[in-house]
């Protein structure tokens, strides 16, 4: 705004926007421009819902309803349009996330048209997966589309990181024409370029750089990804599905993907297709981690060349002793065990510390990692 209104009026307008329509008596709406009023109305549409739940009724004064400047009642679709018009992208996404996460506007997610309007991001996808089973076929198709977009985006971001981490060990006895910082052979480079030593400036002029080659992994590894489907793990599940797809593409790595709540579903045959995996996630009521681990035990054929990754918040609903015993059996067979409390961008998680400690005691490494750190860990283990 070029000709800024006086500070007090500005404050009044902003407070009025922040507090919503119920502040009108004290703060008025005189300071608000037409756009502000629309913004206020769009905000009220979402944030006044909560008050409705507490027994207040919006716009239901019966006959005594007072007139307003509102052109008409907002629909969800219209509301999204208003938001898009009035606010920048980042704010739009924030409001959308509030609507879905905190305010339970699940009706948002049942309308294919509305789904079209939403910004596809991981956040939205997680919410969509949580409620996809009640969606009708048309909405289902949309959800699949959103899943595909999000997965593609995530894949693009993760793939180079993972490939780098999982490329073989540097081989000091092989040279490569591939110029990559990670493979830089500084000893060799110095040795090679000693003849270009510039005595005047006391510097070596590196005319040719040398790089190591990388050894290709030949021995096959099996990676078992065992993924908890409970609601809190959804964000991690998306990464897990994408990781599984990337890992499937690696040479001489066999990926087993197992998802569970109280029952266990083996999605190994679908592991290459993260969208299919995400669409088959079913959120159940309980969690039986022990049962899933027991199932995964049957998948282990070569214990020493197997990595078992349990992605879970460890809120075990079944007997914990059974889970610990299964993990201990795996550990004593020398399977490499990793318990991931989260696979997310901030690598932080809420999980059951007590159970996690018992698992750590049974021989499982427990951590919450970002996807690239996870890839590094895998690379180290399988090197």
């Amino acid at each position: 705004m070029s000709d800024a209104p006086p500070k007090d009026a500005q404050c009044q307008r902003r407070w009025r926007l922040a507090l919503g329509r119920y502040a009108e008596r004290e703060l008025g709406s005189g300071q608000m421009s037409r756009a502000d009023q629309r913004a206020d109305r769009a905000m009220d549409y979402l944030y006044a819902r909560e008050m409705e739940k507490r027994g207040m009724r919006r716009d239901k004064g019966g006959g005594g309803r007072r007139g307003s400047l509102d052109p008409s009642q907002l629909t969800t679709l219209g509301w999204l349009g208003e938001l898009r018009e009035l606010f920048p992208q980042s704010v739009l996404e924030t409001v959308q996330a509030h609507a879905i996460d905190n305010l339970g506007m699940n009706d948002l997610l049942n309308d294919p048209q509305v789904l079209d309007q939403l910004e596809p991001n991981q956040h939205l996808l997680a919410s969509l997966i949580a409620c996809k089973n009640v969606a009708d076929p048309a909405a289902q198709a949309k959800i699949r589309e959103i899943a595909r977009k999000v997965v593609e985006h995530t894949m693009q971001r993760l793939k180079p990181q993972v490939m780098r981490a999982l490329a073989g060990k540097t081989d000091r006895f092989r040279r490569s024409q591939l110029k990559s910082m990670r493979n830089f052979d500084w000893r060799g480079t110095i040795r090679e370029n000693l003849k270009h030593f510039d005595s005047e400036r006391q510097r070596i002029v590196a005319e040719r750089l040398r790089f190591f080659g990388r050894s290709e992994r030949r021995l096959p590894w099996t990676i078992i990804l065992c993924v908890d489907q409970s609601g809190s793990m959804l964000a991690s599940t998306i990464y897990a599905a994408v990781m599984a797809a990337i890992l499937t593409g690696l040479p001489s790595v066999e990926v087993k993907l197992v998802v569970f709540d109280t029952s266990v579903v083996d999605l190994s045959s679908e592991a290459h297709d993260p969208v299919a995996v995400l669409m088959s996630v079913q959120l159940g009521g309980g969690t039986d981690i022990g049962g899933a681990v027991q199932y995964c035990e049957t998948l282990v054929t070569q214990p020493t060349r197997t990595v078992f990754v349990l992605l879970s918040d460890f809120m075990e609903g079944g007997p914990v002793a059974r889970l610990v015993a299964a993990v201990r059996r795996l550990a004593s067979a020398r399977v490499r065990l990793l318990g991931l409390a989260a696979l997310s961008d901030d690598g932080a998680a809420v999980y059951d510390h007590q159970t996690a400690q018992r698992l750590a005691g049974a021989g499982m490494e427990v951590a919450a990692l970002t996807p690239d750190r996870f890839a590094e860990w895998l690379g180290k283990v399988m090197a």
Binding site: M1, K7, D8, Q10, C11, Q12, R14, W15, R16, L17, A18, L19, G20, Y22, A23, R25, E26, L27, G28, G30, A39, M43, L46, Y47, E50, M51, R54, M56, F87, P88, S90, V91, T94, V95, H98, D101, N102, S232, D261, T262, G284, G285, G286, T287, D288, F314, M315, E316, G317, G318, P319, V320, D346, A348, A349, V350, D352, H353, Q354, T355
Partner: protein
Amino acid sequence: MVDPAPLHDPLRDVFVVPVRHHSPACAAQLAALLDQVQPAAVLVEGPCDFDPLIPLICDARTRPPVAVVALRQLDGAARRKRATSYFPFSAHSPEYVALRHAHGRQVASQFIDLPSHARAMLFDGEGEPARTLQGDETLFDSGDYVTALARDLGCRDGNEVWDQLFETRIADADWRRFFADVGQYCACIRAATAQSVMETDGTLEREVQMRALVARARAATQGPIVVVVGGFHASAMFGDHPGDGAPVPPSGSEASSYLVRYGNRQLDALAGYSAGLPLPGFYQHWWDWHHCERANGATDDWAGTLIGGFVAHLRGQGRAPSFPVMLSAIEQAKRLASLRGRPLPLRDDVIDAVRSTFIKDEIPRAGAALLQELHGWLTGSAIGDVPPAAGSPPLVEAVRSEARRLRFVVDDGEIRTRNLDIYRKETHREASRFCHALALVGAGFGQRTAGPDFRNDVALDRLFEVWSVGWSPMVEARLIEVSELADSLPEAVIAVIAERIAALAEQGLGRNAEAAIDLFATACRAGAGESAGAILQLVEAEVIEDAELRSVVAALSDAVLLRRGHKVLGISDPAPIDQLMHTIWRRVLVLLPELAAIPADQARPALQALADLRGVIEIARSAGFGFDLGPFDEALARLEAQDLAPAIAGAVMAFALLDGRADGQALGLRLQVELAGAYLDAGERLAFVGGIIAISRELLWTVPQVVEALDAVVGDAEEDDFIAMLPHLRLALMPLDPGEIDRLSTIVAERLGISPDALAQVVAISEDEALRNAALDRELARKLEAEGVA
């Protein structure tokens, strides 16, 4: 043409009588046969482990319908006997008639089928646990042979064929011809059934057992023997079967059986009972009429008796048709019968007659109410009775007498509505608990259709609880099942709850405080209050393992609400709940330090839990049983020292202020730091304030520094930043209700120096203009009046 089995095997002097279960005609003819043959032994198709119950079945005080209920061990069910199935008798069951005859003449009688725990008896053809122990008779209705016969006879289904061919002959003098025809009919049905079906559904195995027991009885008895079997098996009783072995003996441990009251409703083939006739009430009337009224010579008018009975039933509800309508219905039923070649109107004739005479209008597709009434009446709701010595388990008797005391009707199967005035009458409260308890046990006695829900705070303004209740044999059967665990209803409730708690882990809901307390509350509602201590430990074990603050706080809130409402729930001693409440409270304290590890983007559920916690603490305090807050404050103080997610930090700060450990000054400082903080995300910048408001929104007006700090942010931010913050501000302020928003805006207005008068917009209108407008108004009014639209 299939050769019918002979009725009599002269070599062995054995009469094999083919019957259809519950058929009055078969029963009547069988009675004639027995009178004439005077057998030395009567053998009846039925599980041989029921033999000890024969004296009870024949007891003079037994009034059919009754049933033998068998509880059997299913494979894999480790602990409990399950798979309840029934062997029902009605007054017109040939089996019942045969047993009564034998009993009356001191003749030996026994059952000859496989024991009820044999595999062939446990499962039906599809491998599902069988509900009835009588052979499946669906073939009588839907077999190929019967379908073809129905077409030829012009009947609409197998039941009408049966009525036409056999029920009409209930009073025939020649029982030999009657049973020869039944035998022929059944042999044809059998011939149309695939051998493989009979192998898989256990028919052949059962027949081996029957033959073996018949042979053994033959060896032990002098004189004629009468064997009563389902018509389907009759032909298999004859001839040589070299493969037969010794009979399977009953085992005392694998199954237990009781004689229980049974109901017509459950006998109805249309309701899924595969060995019955449809509309058993009709056949009851049919039998009674032949057996009593006709025999006594009281009346000769069958159609009049039946339709008159239905009209009397309608009259009881105040909607009887006129007398001429009734007469024309009787007339029509008779004419229809003679048109269809029957001596007397049968089931379909009566239904058709009532339909076309009683109903004047179009019959809607869903069926007219009157027809449903007729259907219900012809099904009947009678429930039989058994002698007190029937040995029904103490639990059943206890529940029956309790039900009588609470004035529930247990003598018939009608479904009634009962309004319970649970606030004012102690008996009604007891009745409510009784209904809840039976619902919990899964007896299917009643269903709550309306009423206040204390736990979920729903419909608390309702004064009455409405239940729709109906006693049925299934209630008793379920009670018999549970009777192995308990002798009284409260004990049964405890036993069931204990089982459910144990099952939580199997459903993956173990270590979940909320689920466990839910069961505990259910037990309390079902009147287990006094003995709730028994499951207390189980519930506590779940609670102290729960690692989620949210569900523990939810459990705490449940416990507190239970404690507050314990009087309404009929718990005189709140000690168990107190104990539970404090266990949960300690669990909350244990989980509090873990808040430190919660990342900022996952703080919301934890924040909600903390807000709920504050509410619970307040409720407990106002109800006069506060918690020991010392350790709570200590835990929070320790948290304060750590690096917390902003929202959690705000919440902890709010608790500190409420407790007096911090003052407005400190809060103001902290707020300034947070709000000026270098957060990238506007949401995180406001999360601290959000945390404070979530826990205690009154701080907004009791501590002026909060609004001060907020004002600084609102006023000083760049416009873009402000817009980015707007949704987060709204979210943070959402716990406020409109009144509180108003109150807050008053404070803001004062701060900004806005007087309410300034808001009134002054619109300047000159005197001239005002006058002109007034004139215009008058003109308009006059015009409207002239047009007559004013």
